[in-house]
Symmetry: D2
Subunit: 131 residues, 4 copies
């Protein structure tokens, strides 16, 4: 995605975690959109009543991912506690969403794929938290 | 705000924390809008160069608050870890934003008010986390 | 809500539409949260399969309202076309959501209330567009 | 991005505009993140006082793009007026943001790139509106 080029032109000297933050932002964008799409696909399934919980968790995870994508994109004088807290919440949301999607993965391929995206996003969050 | 009436009509039996979640959602909405407004007012100040950090933190805090408001509003089968993680991130964001706004409170009244809203939101988050 | 006090402290001379924008922002915040709550309540109803369309429209309307609330809150050198386009989209979303909620108002009180909030938000948008 | 695979697994028969909506959602995600990044880079520039207007417009455009990305991603029984109104607002926001970024393109490369992303997103919106 092109937004990476803009972040790389930020006038401040790059922090040592800019690259892991950028990876995190990219994964958050894909995960947020994937959770929005999985909630929407689940809403149209004939067994929607069994999918209530996964829809709820996908909606929550999309909100956390979209907020975290914005925060991880910004490079101007961050408050490190705030950034870390957001990325931690995102990692937790992605685990919760992946686990719930797993429960429906056998009968709904979109849940199987969504679980994978959530795990990839969780790993990108962990890379930020490891620094 | 009217959205409270809709939450109170949710068909599921109310969880024991519905009322504290609702208070949290109300404070998050006000805090998110306050941070958006404070970032915007700061952007138009003649000393904007000194306000860069508070603008950054307000933008981040607005994103976390708006996501948390949505999550705290939803009552359908929550994942408790996810809800808790979002509310924890929100409490941390509000503390960071209040502290940064405090530094400009003497010369910018909008920062002084924003700090107060952030502290009120932090308290509402703590009430959820205490349950 | 306190965010109004912050907007009123914005350093630029108030535009002649600041007050109608502020009313619009307040209604958008309540409408966005109401649509989030109505989608969530509908998701937990036993007739969720009949509520798919209203859930979809509520999710969309919440997204448009939340974006419009932020845009109407900002007072720093606006692009008038952009502000107007966002408020127009919000008015259209509110009408669509109110109409769909009306269809379920007789059996779901939360839909009846949500339709009313959407109409109030539509009126606040129209007040901006009339200027 | 992976979210496309999930949208393609939506259980409803694909609408004739699913592919243009998907392209629109992808461009909106990149444009929203690009505007967030451009506002943030501008905030750290030494001539931030001259960049106030472009920061404001980038923040607004990011909000409209992120909302439109979600709406264009959803495939469950859309309200066509609502979808169209959101995409129209997004096209208008992208034009406004591209024009403002153009004014700074000569001295800020991030503004030049952001203008290009906005124009690409505008074109993807127009493709939806042409259907």
């Amino acid at each position: 995605m092109t937004f990476r080029e803009i972040v790389e032109l930020h006038p401040a000297p790059p922090s040592e975690i800019r690259e892991v933050l950028l990876r995190c932002a990219e994964e958050c964008l894909d995960c947020g959109a994937s959770c929005t799409a999985c909630a929407d696909a689940s809403l149209s399934e004939s067994d929607v009543q069994e999918l209530m919980r996964v829809i709820r968790v996908c909606l929550d995870c999309a909100d956390v991912c979209d907020a975290t994508a914005r925060i991880a994109t910004r490079q101007s004088s961050p408050d490190k506690r705030l950034v870390r807290a957001a990325v931690e919440a995102c990692a937790t949301a992605c685990v919760a969403c992946a686990e719930e999607c797993d429960r429906h993965a056998a009968h709904h391929e979109h849940c199987r794929i969504c679980a994978g995206v959530c795990r990839r996003c969780k790993a990108a969050c962990d890379d930020v938290l490891a620094r």
